[in-house]
């Protein structure tokens, strides 16, 4: 079994933690100082921070069942909000969250990160499946190593 928190996962959790800190600080600041200006946008900004915080916790403590849904939520979030900030710029306050414009203000890290997260969950999960089925049926290890792993 390969823990999600070790090896390359150490660095991945670090990047998640940094984004969690950045997004929570930003969302928290916006919600506490100017919430009434744009409640939806600033709630979304804080929500992004919470998603990153939960993903960081899940990956750091090897909780795959929690890591999968949060990483996927994050992926949907950055893709939807990123797209909306281009096609419907009036809908949200543009500078509201780390997901605006696919996270270009954060060197596009928010766009790349969920894909790295999924890749890592699959790879570390497959290593676990390989170990469990070693010697028995090595060919069947790969297909079963998806989200259910």
């Amino acid at each position: 079994m390969r823990p999600t928190s070790q090896g390359p996962g150490r660095a991945l959790v670090t990047v998640y933690g940094v984004l969690a800190l950045a997004a929570c600080a930003r969302g928290g600041f916006e919600v506490t100082t100017k919430f009434h200006e744009a409640p939806l946008s600033y709630s979304l900004a804080l929500f992004a921070g919470v998603v990153y915080a939960v993903a960081t916790f899940a990956l750091a403590t090897n909780r795959r069942w929690l890591a999968w849904p949060t990483v996927l939520t994050e992926m949907v979030g950055v893709l939807v909000v990123g797209t909306l900030s281009f096609v419907a710029p009036g809908l949200f306050r543009l500078h509201a969250s780390v997901w605006s414009w696919f996270g270009v203000e954060y060197l596009l890290v928010p766009l790349v990160l969920p894909f790295l997260g999924v890749t890592w969950l699959r790879r570390s999960g497959r290593a676990a499946a390989d170990e469990a089925t070693r010697g028995a049926a090595p060919d069947e290890a790969a297909p079963g190593a998806g989200p259910a792993a």
Binding site: Q6, G7, P8, G9, R10, A11, V13, T14, V15, G17, V18, L21, A22, A25, R26, G28, F29, T32, T33, A60
Partner: protein, 117 residues
């Protein structure tokens, strides 16, 4: 906020980053001496906080955004160092490298935020 106060912080954190980057290249984990260097950078950030508290001259001190940055940056190195030290591979050094680079970046943002207010 004086520019010098920030640039010293940038240089200190980049030295730490260079050290961690060197260990990454040499395939070595973080060592105790690097943690002590990290503590020095952290101490400097605290000094910065005190200086700004005592001498809040300039527009930025009134801005909540500025204080959000000043407080947030204090969390980065202690968390990164703890997280790095528990891993005993090269990825340990990658963690410290990332943490140090983030602090350098936040230092520069401090200067920007100060100017905006």
């Amino acid at each position: 906020m004086s520019t010098l106060l920030v640039w010293v912080g940038v240089v200190l954190s980049l030295v730490l980053a260079a050290s961690a980057g060197w260990h990454t290249l040499r395939n070595r984990p973080v060592i105790l001496r690097q943690l002590l260097a990290g503590a020095v950078v952290e101490a400097y950030l605290l000094i910065q906080l005190v200086v700004v508290l005592v001498h809040p001259a300039g527009g930025g001190a009134a801005s909540g955004l500025f204080w959000t940055y000043v407080v947030t940056q204090l969390f980065v190195l202690p968390l990164a160092a703890t997280w790095a030290f528990a891993e005993r591979t090269r990825w340990s050094s990658v963690v410290l490298l990332l943490g140090a680079l983030v602090v350098a970046f936040l230092q520069l943002r401090l200067l920007q935020v100060w100017g905006q207010a």
